[in-house]
Symmetry: C2
Subunit: 217 residues, 2 copies
Amino acid sequence: MTDKEISRAVIKRLPRYFRYLGELKDAGVEKISSQELSQIMHVTASQIRQDLNNFGGFGQQGYGYNVKHLYDEIGRILGLDREHNLIIIGGGNLGSALAGYGNFANRGFIMKGVFDVSPSLAGQYIRNIPILPMSALPEFIEKNNIDIAVIAIPKTQAVAVADTLVKCGIKAIWNFSHVDLEVPDDVVVESVHLSESLMRLSYNLSRVGFGEEPDND
Amino acid sequence: MTDKEISRAVIKRLPRYFRYLGELKDAGVEKISSQELSQIMHVTASQIRQDLNNFGGFGQQGYGYNVKHLYDEIGRILGLDREHNLIIIGGGNLGSALAGYGNFANRGFIMKGVFDVSPSLAGQYIRNIPILPMSALPEFIEKNNIDIAVIAIPKTQAVAVADTLVKCGIKAIWNFSHVDLEVPDDVVVESVHLSESLMRLSYNLSRVGFGEEPDND
DNA sequence: TAGATTGTTAATCGATTAACAATC
DNA sequence: TAGATTGTTAATCGATTAACAATC
Protein backbone atom coordinates (compact mmCIF):
# COMPACT_ATOMS: atom_id res chain seq x y z
CA MET A 1 0.00 0.00 0.00
CA THR A 2 1.50 3.28 -1.08
CA ASP A 3 -0.09 5.79 1.30
CA LYS A 4 -1.65 8.80 -0.35
CA GLU A 5 0.23 12.00 0.34
CA ILE A 6 -0.62 12.98 3.92
CA SER A 7 -0.41 16.67 4.63
CA ARG A 8 2.13 17.94 7.13
CA ALA A 9 -0.62 19.59 9.16
CA VAL A 10 -2.30 16.24 9.73
CA ILE A 11 0.92 14.55 10.80
CA LYS A 12 1.59 17.32 13.27
CA ARG A 13 -1.74 16.61 14.94
CA LEU A 14 -1.42 12.84 15.15
CA PRO A 15 0.71 12.71 18.32
CA ARG A 16 -1.80 14.92 20.08
CA TYR A 17 -4.66 12.57 19.17
CA PHE A 18 -2.49 9.77 20.46
CA ARG A 19 -1.93 11.52 23.75
CA TYR A 20 -5.62 12.22 24.35
CA LEU A 21 -6.68 8.73 23.33
CA GLY A 22 -4.08 7.28 25.68
CA GLU A 23 -5.55 9.29 28.53
CA LEU A 24 -9.09 8.23 27.65
CA LYS A 25 -7.99 4.63 27.43
CA ASP A 26 -6.29 4.82 30.83
CA ALA A 27 -9.44 6.39 32.23
CA GLY A 28 -11.36 3.34 31.07
CA VAL A 29 -13.32 5.06 28.31
CA GLU A 30 -14.34 2.51 25.68
CA LYS A 31 -15.87 4.52 22.86
CA ILE A 32 -15.86 8.13 21.78
CA SER A 33 -17.50 10.12 19.01
CA SER A 34 -15.73 12.78 16.98
CA GLN A 35 -18.13 15.24 18.60
CA GLU A 36 -17.10 14.30 22.14
CA LEU A 37 -13.40 14.23 21.29
CA SER A 38 -13.67 17.60 19.59
CA GLN A 39 -14.95 19.15 22.83
CA ILE A 40 -12.13 17.67 24.88
CA MET A 41 -9.41 18.65 22.43
CA HIS A 42 -10.83 22.00 21.34
CA VAL A 43 -10.82 21.21 17.64
CA THR A 44 -13.71 20.64 15.24
CA ALA A 45 -15.30 17.22 14.91
CA SER A 46 -15.00 17.65 11.17
CA GLN A 47 -11.25 17.97 11.39
CA ILE A 48 -10.96 14.86 13.51
CA ARG A 49 -12.95 12.80 11.02
CA GLN A 50 -11.01 14.22 8.08
CA ASP A 51 -7.67 13.58 9.76
CA LEU A 52 -8.44 10.00 10.72
CA ASN A 53 -9.85 9.19 7.32
CA ASN A 54 -6.50 9.87 5.75
CA PHE A 55 -5.45 6.54 7.20
CA GLY A 56 -8.63 4.53 6.85
CA GLY A 57 -12.06 4.14 8.37
CA PHE A 58 -11.38 3.55 12.03
CA GLY A 59 -14.87 4.41 13.19
CA GLN A 60 -18.31 2.96 12.84
CA GLN A 61 -21.41 4.87 11.81
CA GLY A 62 -23.88 5.39 14.60
CA TYR A 63 -21.33 4.28 17.20
CA GLY A 64 -18.18 6.37 17.05
CA TYR A 65 -14.63 5.18 17.58
CA ASN A 66 -13.35 2.44 19.83
CA VAL A 67 -10.77 4.20 21.97
CA LYS A 68 -8.38 1.29 22.43
CA HIS A 69 -8.48 0.38 18.75
CA LEU A 70 -7.98 3.94 17.56
CA TYR A 71 -5.12 4.43 20.02
CA ASP A 72 -3.39 1.33 18.73
CA GLU A 73 -3.90 2.30 15.12
CA ILE A 74 -2.48 5.77 15.56
CA GLY A 75 0.43 4.30 17.50
CA ARG A 76 1.10 1.99 14.60
CA ILE A 77 0.89 4.85 12.12
CA LEU A 78 3.40 6.78 14.21
CA GLY A 79 5.76 3.81 14.20
CA LEU A 80 5.37 3.18 17.92
CA ASP A 81 4.59 -0.49 17.42
CA ARG A 82 8.30 -1.22 17.34
CA GLU A 83 11.35 -0.23 19.35
CA HIS A 84 13.80 2.43 18.28
CA ASN A 85 17.39 2.53 19.44
CA LEU A 86 18.80 5.99 20.01
CA ILE A 87 22.14 7.59 20.66
CA ILE A 88 22.70 11.06 22.01
CA ILE A 89 25.49 13.26 20.79
CA GLY A 90 26.50 15.58 23.59
CA GLY A 91 26.78 14.75 27.28
CA GLY A 92 25.99 18.26 28.53
CA ASN A 93 22.96 19.36 30.47
CA LEU A 94 20.47 18.81 27.70
CA GLY A 95 21.95 15.54 26.50
CA SER A 96 21.91 14.21 30.03
CA ALA A 97 18.35 15.33 30.57
CA LEU A 98 17.20 13.55 27.42
CA ALA A 99 19.22 10.46 28.30
CA GLY A 100 17.64 10.23 31.71
CA TYR A 101 14.08 10.90 30.68
CA GLY A 102 12.06 7.78 31.34
CA ASN A 103 8.99 8.62 29.28
CA PHE A 104 10.77 7.98 26.00
CA ALA A 105 11.62 4.43 26.99
CA ASN A 106 7.95 3.83 27.79
CA ARG A 107 7.09 4.55 24.18
CA GLY A 108 9.82 2.29 22.81
CA PHE A 109 12.60 4.81 22.35
CA ILE A 110 15.62 3.17 23.95
CA MET A 111 18.64 5.31 24.77
CA LYS A 112 21.68 3.18 24.05
CA GLY A 113 24.62 5.51 24.42
CA VAL A 114 25.80 9.08 24.90
CA PHE A 115 28.74 10.39 22.89
CA ASP A 116 30.84 13.34 23.94
CA VAL A 117 33.91 15.07 22.59
CA SER A 118 35.27 15.50 26.09
CA PRO A 119 37.39 12.43 26.94
CA SER A 120 36.95 13.13 30.64
CA LEU A 121 33.33 11.98 30.51
CA ALA A 122 34.07 8.74 28.67
CA GLY A 123 33.58 5.71 30.86
CA GLN A 124 30.95 7.35 33.04
CA TYR A 125 27.26 6.50 32.99
CA ILE A 126 23.99 8.42 32.92
CA ARG A 127 21.36 6.12 34.38
CA ASN A 128 22.93 2.94 33.02
CA ILE A 129 23.65 4.59 29.69
CA PRO A 130 27.37 4.60 28.90
CA ILE A 131 29.18 7.76 27.84
CA LEU A 132 31.53 6.98 24.98
CA PRO A 133 34.14 8.84 22.95
CA MET A 134 33.26 10.04 19.46
CA SER A 135 35.78 7.62 17.99
CA ALA A 136 33.52 4.74 19.00
CA LEU A 137 30.57 6.15 17.05
CA PRO A 138 30.62 4.26 13.73
CA GLU A 139 31.06 0.84 15.26
CA PHE A 140 28.47 1.49 17.97
CA ILE A 141 25.83 2.55 15.46
CA GLU A 142 26.30 -0.58 13.43
CA LYS A 143 26.53 -3.02 16.32
CA ASN A 144 23.54 -1.64 18.25
CA ASN A 145 21.17 -1.17 15.38
CA ILE A 146 20.78 2.55 16.04
CA ASP A 147 17.79 4.22 14.37
CA ILE A 148 17.85 7.73 15.65
CA ALA A 149 20.62 10.12 16.67
CA VAL A 150 19.91 13.03 18.97
CA ILE A 151 22.07 16.10 18.42
CA ALA A 152 22.51 18.01 21.68
CA ILE A 153 25.69 19.97 21.00
CA PRO A 154 26.37 23.59 20.01
CA LYS A 155 25.64 24.54 16.43
CA THR A 156 29.32 25.08 15.70
CA GLN A 157 29.87 21.32 15.86
CA ALA A 158 26.41 20.17 14.84
CA VAL A 159 26.83 20.40 11.08
CA ALA A 160 30.02 18.33 11.03
CA VAL A 161 28.56 15.75 13.41
CA ALA A 162 25.41 15.44 11.30
CA ASP A 163 27.58 14.69 8.28
CA THR A 164 29.38 12.01 10.23
CA LEU A 165 26.11 10.49 11.39
CA VAL A 166 24.80 10.36 7.83
CA LYS A 167 28.01 8.65 6.71
CA CYS A 168 27.46 6.09 9.48
CA GLY A 169 24.05 5.30 8.01
CA ILE A 170 21.81 7.13 10.46
CA LYS A 171 18.39 7.80 8.88
CA ALA A 172 16.81 10.01 11.52
CA ILE A 173 18.16 12.98 13.46
CA TRP A 174 16.44 14.69 16.36
CA ASN A 175 18.15 18.05 16.29
CA PHE A 176 18.37 20.35 19.29
CA SER A 177 21.11 22.61 17.92
CA HIS A 178 20.25 26.06 16.59
CA VAL A 179 20.95 25.34 12.99
CA ASP A 180 19.00 23.89 10.06
CA LEU A 181 20.76 20.70 9.09
CA GLU A 182 21.12 19.85 5.41
CA VAL A 183 20.91 16.11 4.87
CA PRO A 184 20.27 13.74 1.94
CA ASP A 185 16.69 13.03 0.90
CA ASP A 186 16.51 9.70 2.66
CA VAL A 187 17.44 11.14 6.05
CA VAL A 188 14.79 12.65 8.28
CA VAL A 189 15.41 15.61 10.56
CA GLU A 190 13.10 16.84 13.27
CA SER A 191 14.35 19.99 14.94
CA VAL A 192 13.48 21.34 18.35
CA HIS A 193 14.56 24.95 18.31
CA LEU A 194 14.09 25.89 21.95
CA SER A 195 15.17 29.49 21.63
CA GLU A 196 12.71 30.03 18.77
CA SER A 197 9.95 28.66 20.95
CA LEU A 198 10.96 31.03 23.73
CA MET A 199 10.96 33.96 21.31
CA ARG A 200 7.42 33.15 20.21
CA LEU A 201 6.41 33.18 23.85
CA SER A 202 8.12 36.55 24.25
CA TYR A 203 6.29 37.88 21.18
CA ASN A 204 2.92 36.76 22.46
CA LEU A 205 3.66 38.05 25.93
CA SER A 206 4.36 41.52 24.62
CA ARG A 207 1.18 41.48 22.51
CA VAL A 208 -1.26 40.07 25.04
CA GLY A 209 -3.80 42.42 26.57
CA PHE A 210 -4.24 44.27 23.30
CA GLY A 211 -7.37 42.39 22.32
CA GLU A 212 -5.50 39.73 20.42
CA GLU A 213 -6.15 36.32 21.89
CA PRO A 214 -2.75 34.69 21.72
CA ASP A 215 -3.99 31.36 20.33
CA ASN A 216 -2.30 29.22 22.94
CA ASP A 217 -0.88 25.88 22.00
CA MET B 1 -0.65 51.62 17.27
CA THR B 2 -2.95 48.62 17.33
CA ASP B 3 -1.16 46.08 15.15
CA LYS B 4 -3.29 44.44 12.49
CA GLU B 5 -3.98 40.78 13.17
CA ILE B 6 -0.76 38.92 12.35
CA SER B 7 -1.25 35.32 11.32
CA ARG B 8 0.16 32.58 13.49
CA ALA B 9 2.14 31.21 10.54
CA VAL B 10 4.02 34.48 10.21
CA ILE B 11 4.85 34.65 13.90
CA LYS B 12 6.18 31.12 13.78
CA ARG B 13 8.64 32.15 11.09
CA LEU B 14 9.89 35.34 12.74
CA PRO B 15 12.44 33.71 15.06
CA ARG B 16 13.94 31.89 12.12
CA TYR B 17 14.40 35.12 10.20
CA PHE B 18 15.98 36.53 13.32
CA ARG B 19 18.40 33.64 13.54
CA TYR B 20 19.52 33.90 9.91
CA LEU B 21 19.82 37.67 10.05
CA GLY B 22 21.92 37.36 13.20
CA GLU B 23 24.27 35.00 11.41
CA LEU B 24 24.51 37.31 8.38
CA LYS B 25 25.16 40.27 10.66
CA ASP B 26 27.90 38.38 12.50
CA ALA B 27 29.39 37.44 9.15
CA GLY B 28 29.63 41.13 8.32
CA VAL B 29 26.95 41.16 5.61
CA GLU B 30 25.47 44.65 5.32
CA LYS B 31 22.57 44.32 2.92
CA ILE B 32 20.49 41.48 1.56
CA SER B 33 17.62 41.19 -0.93
CA SER B 34 14.58 39.02 -0.40
CA GLN B 35 15.85 36.98 -3.34
CA GLU B 36 19.23 36.27 -1.72
CA LEU B 37 17.69 35.52 1.66
CA SER B 38 15.16 33.19 0.06
CA GLN B 39 17.96 31.07 -1.35
CA ILE B 40 19.75 30.83 2.00
CA MET B 41 16.61 30.01 3.95
CA HIS B 42 14.89 27.83 1.34
CA VAL B 43 11.68 29.83 1.29
CA THR B 44 10.19 32.03 -1.44
CA ALA B 45 11.24 35.65 -1.76
CA SER B 46 7.56 36.52 -1.99
CA GLN B 47 6.90 35.02 1.41
CA ILE B 48 9.75 36.96 2.98
CA ARG B 49 8.45 40.25 1.61
CA GLN B 50 4.88 39.45 2.64
CA ASP B 51 5.95 38.43 6.13
CA LEU B 52 8.07 41.50 6.75
CA ASN B 53 5.45 43.84 5.41
CA ASN B 54 3.09 42.78 8.16
CA PHE B 55 5.22 44.91 10.43
CA GLY B 56 6.17 47.78 8.15
CA GLY B 57 8.39 48.62 5.23
CA PHE B 58 11.82 47.63 6.41
CA GLY B 59 13.37 47.52 2.96
CA GLN B 60 14.19 49.96 0.23
CA GLN B 61 13.30 49.53 -3.43
CA GLY B 62 16.26 48.83 -5.65
CA TYR B 63 18.48 48.13 -2.65
CA GLY B 64 17.06 45.42 -0.44
CA TYR B 65 17.18 45.20 3.33
CA ASN B 66 19.84 46.49 5.70
CA VAL B 67 20.77 43.39 7.69
CA LYS B 68 21.58 45.09 10.98
CA HIS B 69 18.44 47.23 10.86
CA LEU B 70 16.17 44.34 9.97
CA TYR B 71 17.73 42.19 12.69
CA ASP B 72 17.09 44.89 15.27
CA GLU B 73 13.53 45.45 14.11
CA ILE B 74 12.62 41.78 14.26
CA GLY B 75 14.27 41.54 17.67
CA ARG B 76 12.12 44.42 18.82
CA ILE B 77 8.98 42.81 17.39
CA LEU B 78 9.84 39.61 19.26
CA GLY B 79 10.22 41.55 22.49
CA LEU B 80 13.96 40.93 22.71
CA ASP B 81 14.76 44.60 23.24
CA ARG B 82 14.11 44.18 26.91
CA GLU B 83 15.05 41.68 29.60
CA HIS B 84 12.74 38.96 30.86
CA ASN B 85 13.04 37.39 34.29
CA LEU B 86 12.25 33.69 34.44
CA ILE B 87 11.68 31.05 37.05
CA ILE B 88 11.78 27.33 36.49
CA ILE B 89 9.40 24.97 38.20
CA GLY B 90 11.12 21.63 38.57
CA GLY B 91 14.75 20.99 39.49
CA GLY B 92 15.02 17.68 37.65
CA ASN B 93 17.14 16.91 34.63
CA LEU B 94 15.25 19.12 32.22
CA GLY B 95 14.79 22.01 34.63
CA SER B 96 18.49 21.95 35.42
CA ALA B 97 19.40 21.84 31.75
CA LEU B 98 17.24 24.86 31.00
CA ALA B 99 18.56 26.69 34.06
CA GLY B 100 22.13 26.16 33.00
CA TYR B 101 21.71 26.98 29.35
CA GLY B 102 23.67 30.14 28.63
CA ASN B 103 22.16 31.02 25.28
CA PHE B 104 18.92 32.21 26.84
CA ALA B 105 20.72 34.76 28.98
CA ASN B 106 22.40 36.11 25.85
CA ARG B 107 18.99 36.99 24.46
CA GLY B 108 17.84 38.69 27.63
CA PHE B 109 16.07 35.77 29.29
CA ILE B 110 17.42 35.77 32.85
CA MET B 111 16.91 32.67 34.99
CA LYS B 112 16.24 33.91 38.50
CA GLY B 113 15.27 30.84 40.45
CA VAL B 114 14.42 27.16 40.35
CA PHE B 115 11.54 25.83 42.43
CA ASP B 116 11.20 22.22 43.45
CA VAL B 117 8.79 20.23 45.57
CA SER B 118 11.64 18.22 47.02
CA PRO B 119 12.88 19.99 50.17
CA SER B 120 16.21 18.21 49.87
CA LEU B 121 17.19 20.36 46.89
CA ALA B 122 16.29 23.66 48.52
CA GLY B 123 19.34 25.72 49.34
CA GLN B 124 21.42 24.27 46.52
CA TYR B 125 22.42 26.15 43.39
CA ILE B 126 22.45 25.44 39.67
CA ARG B 127 25.05 27.75 38.19
CA ASN B 128 24.41 30.60 40.62
CA ILE B 129 20.66 30.08 40.39
CA PRO B 130 19.14 29.25 43.77
CA ILE B 131 16.83 26.28 44.25
CA LEU B 132 13.92 27.28 46.43
CA PRO B 133 10.91 25.55 48.02
CA MET B 134 7.50 25.98 46.42
CA SER B 135 6.32 27.91 49.46
CA ALA B 136 8.59 30.79 48.49
CA LEU B 137 6.98 31.08 45.05
CA PRO B 138 4.42 33.92 45.44
CA GLU B 139 6.80 36.29 47.20
CA PHE B 140 9.67 35.52 44.82
CA ILE B 141 7.57 36.26 41.74
CA GLU B 142 6.50 39.59 43.10
CA LYS B 143 9.89 40.69 44.45
CA ASN B 144 11.88 39.66 41.37
CA ASN B 145 9.56 40.96 38.72
CA ILE B 146 9.15 37.55 37.11
CA ASP B 147 7.73 37.54 33.57
CA ILE B 148 7.87 33.95 32.51
CA ALA B 149 7.53 30.66 34.35
CA VAL B 150 8.95 27.47 32.90
CA ILE B 151 7.08 24.29 33.78
CA ALA B 152 9.44 21.33 33.84
CA ILE B 153 7.58 18.88 36.03
CA PRO B 154 5.44 15.81 35.30
CA LYS B 155 1.95 16.44 33.95
CA THR B 156 0.35 15.10 37.11
CA GLN B 157 1.52 18.23 38.96
CA ALA B 158 1.62 20.64 36.04
CA VAL B 159 -2.04 21.65 35.99
CA ALA B 160 -2.13 22.55 39.68
CA VAL B 161 1.15 24.45 39.45
CA ALA B 162 -0.06 26.39 36.43
CA ASP B 163 -3.12 27.47 38.41
CA THR B 164 -0.86 28.64 41.23
CA LEU B 165 1.34 30.55 38.81
CA VAL B 166 -1.65 32.30 37.30
CA LYS B 167 -2.83 33.26 40.77
CA CYS B 168 0.60 34.72 41.45
CA GLY B 169 0.17 36.97 38.41
CA ILE B 170 2.39 35.13 35.91
CA LYS B 171 1.43 36.12 32.35
CA ALA B 172 3.56 33.70 30.35
CA ILE B 173 4.19 29.98 30.76
CA TRP B 174 6.75 27.95 28.84
CA ASN B 175 5.32 24.49 29.26
CA PHE B 176 7.39 21.31 28.93
CA SER B 177 4.87 18.98 30.54
CA HIS B 178 2.79 16.64 28.41
CA VAL B 179 -0.50 18.34 28.96
CA ASP B 180 -2.39 21.23 27.38
CA LEU B 181 -2.72 23.88 30.05
CA GLU B 182 -5.95 25.83 30.32
CA VAL B 183 -5.32 29.40 31.38
CA PRO B 184 -7.19 32.70 31.32
CA ASP B 185 -7.21 34.78 28.14
CA ASP B 186 -4.54 37.17 29.31
CA VAL B 187 -2.00 34.44 30.01
CA VAL B 188 0.18 33.09 27.22
CA VAL B 189 1.28 29.47 26.99
CA GLU B 190 3.93 28.12 24.66
CA SER B 191 4.28 24.38 24.89
CA VAL B 192 7.24 22.23 23.93
CA HIS B 193 5.89 18.72 23.66
CA LEU B 194 9.11 16.74 23.25
CA SER B 195 7.50 13.34 22.96
CA GLU B 196 5.20 14.59 20.21
CA SER B 197 8.22 15.87 18.33
CA LEU B 198 9.90 12.49 18.70
CA MET B 199 6.76 10.74 17.45
CA ARG B 200 6.72 12.91 14.33
CA LEU B 201 10.32 11.90 13.72
CA SER B 202 9.33 8.28 14.16
CA TYR B 203 6.45 8.71 11.71
CA ASN B 204 8.68 10.26 9.08
CA LEU B 205 11.36 7.66 9.65
CA SER B 206 8.95 4.84 8.96
CA ARG B 207 7.67 6.56 5.80
CA VAL B 208 10.98 7.64 4.25
CA GLY B 209 12.19 5.76 1.22
CA PHE B 210 8.67 5.39 -0.15
CA GLY B 211 8.98 8.33 -2.50
CA GLU B 212 7.64 10.82 -0.01
CA GLU B 213 10.15 13.52 0.73
CA PRO B 214 9.77 14.05 4.46
CA ASP B 215 9.72 17.84 4.33
CA ASN B 216 12.46 18.34 6.90
CA ASP B 217 12.34 21.20 9.30
C1' DT C 1 -36.80 0.42 12.42
C1' DA C 2 -35.18 5.02 14.19
C1' DG C 3 -31.33 7.45 15.86
C1' DA C 4 -26.71 8.38 15.78
C1' DT C 5 -22.51 9.17 13.78
C1' DT C 6 -19.26 8.18 10.39
C1' DG C 7 -17.00 8.82 5.73
C1' DT C 8 -16.80 11.94 2.12
C1' DT C 9 -18.02 15.60 -1.04
C1' DA C 10 -18.68 20.50 -1.48
C1' DA C 11 -18.05 25.28 0.26
C1' DT C 12 -15.31 28.39 2.69
C1' DC C 13 -11.52 30.31 4.48
C1' DG C 14 -6.70 31.45 4.90
C1' DA C 15 -2.02 31.23 3.47
C1' DT C 16 1.31 31.11 -0.22
C1' DT C 17 2.94 32.42 -4.59
C1' DA C 18 3.01 35.23 -8.70
C1' DA C 19 2.94 39.50 -10.89
C1' DC C 20 3.77 44.18 -11.41
C1' DA C 21 3.44 49.10 -10.43
C1' DA C 22 5.91 52.16 -7.32
C1' DT C 23 10.24 53.97 -6.20
C1' DC C 24 14.88 54.11 -4.65
C1' DT D 1 18.36 57.78 -16.30
C1' DA D 2 18.25 52.64 -16.17
C1' DG D 3 18.32 48.77 -13.22
C1' DA D 4 17.03 46.63 -9.23
C1' DT D 5 14.07 45.40 -5.76
C1' DT D 6 10.56 46.49 -2.73
C1' DG D 7 5.56 46.88 -1.30
C1' DT D 8 1.21 45.30 -2.51
C1' DT D 9 -2.59 43.52 -5.22
C1' DA D 10 -4.33 39.55 -7.60
C1' DA D 11 -4.24 34.49 -8.51
C1' DT D 12 -3.49 30.05 -6.84
C1' DC D 13 -3.16 26.62 -3.81
C1' DG D 14 -4.11 24.02 0.33
C1' DA D 15 -6.34 23.33 4.61
C1' DT D 16 -10.44 23.75 7.41
C1' DT D 17 -15.24 23.61 8.05
C1' DA D 18 -19.93 22.52 6.75
C1' DA D 19 -23.23 19.51 4.99
C1' DC D 20 -25.28 15.28 4.10
C1' DA D 21 -25.79 10.69 2.15
C1' DA D 22 -24.31 6.16 3.63
C1' DT D 23 -24.70 2.87 7.16
C1' DC D 24 -24.20 0.82 11.58
